[in-house]
Amino acid sequence: MVEESGGVTKDAPKIPPFTRDQELTAFREMLLIRRFEEKAGQLYGMGVIGGFCHLYIGQEAVVVGVKMAARDGDQFTTSYRDHGHMLASGMEPKRVMAELAGRRGGYSKGKGGSMHMFSRAANFYGGHGIVGAPAPIGAGVAFANLYRGDDRVSLTFFGEGASNQGQVYEAFNMAALWKLPVVFIVENNRYAMGTEISRASAQTDFSKRGAAFAIPGKQIDGMDVRIVKAAADEAIDWCRKGNGPYLIEAQTYRYRGHSMSDPAKYRSKEEVQKMREEHDPIEQVRARLIADGVSEDELKKIDANARKIVSEAADFAVADKEPDPSELWTDVLA
């Protein structure tokens, strides 16, 4: 699935191997997100989580691969399918879960919910409910990096559906014009809610969407965390050297509906099943670790640990109180 489109390098790179430590890190991080999202789905079913809840299950390799390429201080911005990005950014699972539950211990004191969460400490700039909003906001974060003359890179995620919004191209133009250090990562999970890409996009190769602005683009298999990390390494390096923005289209897949209330009848069960069986990002890593001689037991321990973290997060969220009524009126103005 690796394909060049922007012309940065001519040869399709070989899949760069991970060290065993890197494989284990990727496994641990992706599994944490998977278990967290499974739990969030359960809590939604129990009525603990309300409103909209968009699960990241299936897409874990994208954010984890990018995070493994990022440096401390690089900023993350995404739209509403954001739980995985927050965990990858190092935000505390229990406070993310508490926010999903609308509790006072949540990152936004229960006032933001699933789609609107932030952490200045973790350099996570949202969490935006408007699908294309991360593009200019992430470019603005990069503007601040350039303005200050530090070498931080803004890592900006949005979906292929958002890629059809005008503001994305306004951001591309300025980012290229001013050589802003921003990597735009299109997470192409093939369905904008219920609309398959070919029904909504005249150009379904999203890595070409920056070509009009001479933004180098690369279309990659977003289900393979090694490929994501390698592409992100190259993109981040490109940005950090002052070359301006870079566009990655990570081809991925969400196993669940668009949100919890979406039965996903617009695609076949077979299609989902095939992706799960043949391309699952976590199973790919597990298979390589086993082949490398890591024992099932060790992997089970990692899984058990992820389940424990998530279970504690859920317990915390359920037990935590709702915000004090006085919180209705706070944080309106600084």
Binding site: F118, V141, M174
Partner: protein, 471 residues
Amino acid sequence: MSVNVLMPALSPTMEQGKLAKWLKSEGDEVKAGDVIAEIETDKATMEVEAVDEGVLARILVPGGTENVAVNTPIAVIAEEGESVADTADHAPMARVGEEDKAEKQAEVAAPLKPAIEVAAPAPKAPSVAEQPSATIAPEVPEGTAMISMTMREALRDAMAEEMRRDPSVFVIGEEVAEYQGAYKVTQGLLQEFGAKRVVDTPITEYGFAGVGVGAAFAGLRPIVEFMTFNFSMQAIDHIVNSAAKTLYMSGGQINCPIVFRGPNGAAARVAAQHSQDYTAWYSQVPGLIVIAPSNASDAKGLLKAAIRDNNPVVFLENEILYGKTSDVPALEDFVLPIGKARIARPGKDVTLVSFSIGMTYALHAADELAKEGIEAEVIDLRTVRPMDIATVIESVKKTGRCVAIEEGWPQCGVCAEIAMRVQQEAFDYLDAPVLRVTGKDTPMPYAANLEKLALPSAAEIVTAAKAVLYR
């Protein structure tokens, strides 16, 4: 037949300018398209081209003359075969501006150029007269020295002072840098602060509003200029959804110290899509501060406050007020408090409440009412959100009558809010229903007469004030 050359208008709001110099002398032949003179306004220098062929027979307004009203005859061109001496009948005319003189001028010009725009006086701003007198901000100590300056200069100085003070402040928008501002509000900033801090953008309001918000999240202090607030509708998603709500949505973690500024409301003869007043729109949004100054002093003190504020501020200027001159305190660091109204004119009979250019109408109306022995108290809200309704209530308790004025549309407007709050908090003090004078409930028309009808007027305010006084 000789032809009068008239002082041209360089912009929809220009009323007068300087005839900087003549490039042709009396007796010179001119062809259509020849540059014959240069004129200057506070915004720009422009060349005057001859429209007719002939001989420059007489120069009526010498080079270097200041304050030449638009449509004043500045020269006479004699046509081929016409004796220069025949043009002597064209006596230099005094400034043309008043309606009667415009008619006279029309007689002269009409046979030559039947097009109506030649004969008609220049499209005038709804408030052509000089700024009516008003008290300076109460925050200024008595005896403070004053400098007379235009609102345009006051806004520029406010930005320059804050940019000197805080390196995280920068200006971004269309034509703010090399062009020196579409309305020349950012004049000189590029030269002093460089391209890193005075950033020209593509025409991309949605995008650069979002970039500004992202930079503000990351700790910078952007001043985002909209060429006019009409174009902010492209960007309103980021102003409302991203700038205004994120502090709340982040539980107080991520504030957005950004100023969105530019001219708002009707200019003159730019019609429906360029004449909208957004005060009511933005003032409905929690998380935003909305400021709309009426004079140079408030503009300077409040823009400095807005830039220092840790919240997103929508700073609504007015193109017609840009060129108006008023006193600004000669203080090293003049910062006004946000959210405080100002009693612009004390009175006891009726309270008039407005903001921005509405104050021009209100103060003129107060002058008119005074001639009939009615002492109106005129309150300038200055900040529309948060609204200093307490100052209005105090006044209404004294006068028992209230008229609110705005250029925006009536339904769900700022006046509607004022009337609601006054009836809620001062019902027992009211001797008459609260009335409002607003822009009419139509898109803005282009035709000069219809535009005048669409805007509020001092006469309407006088009528409303008399109505609440039952006079």
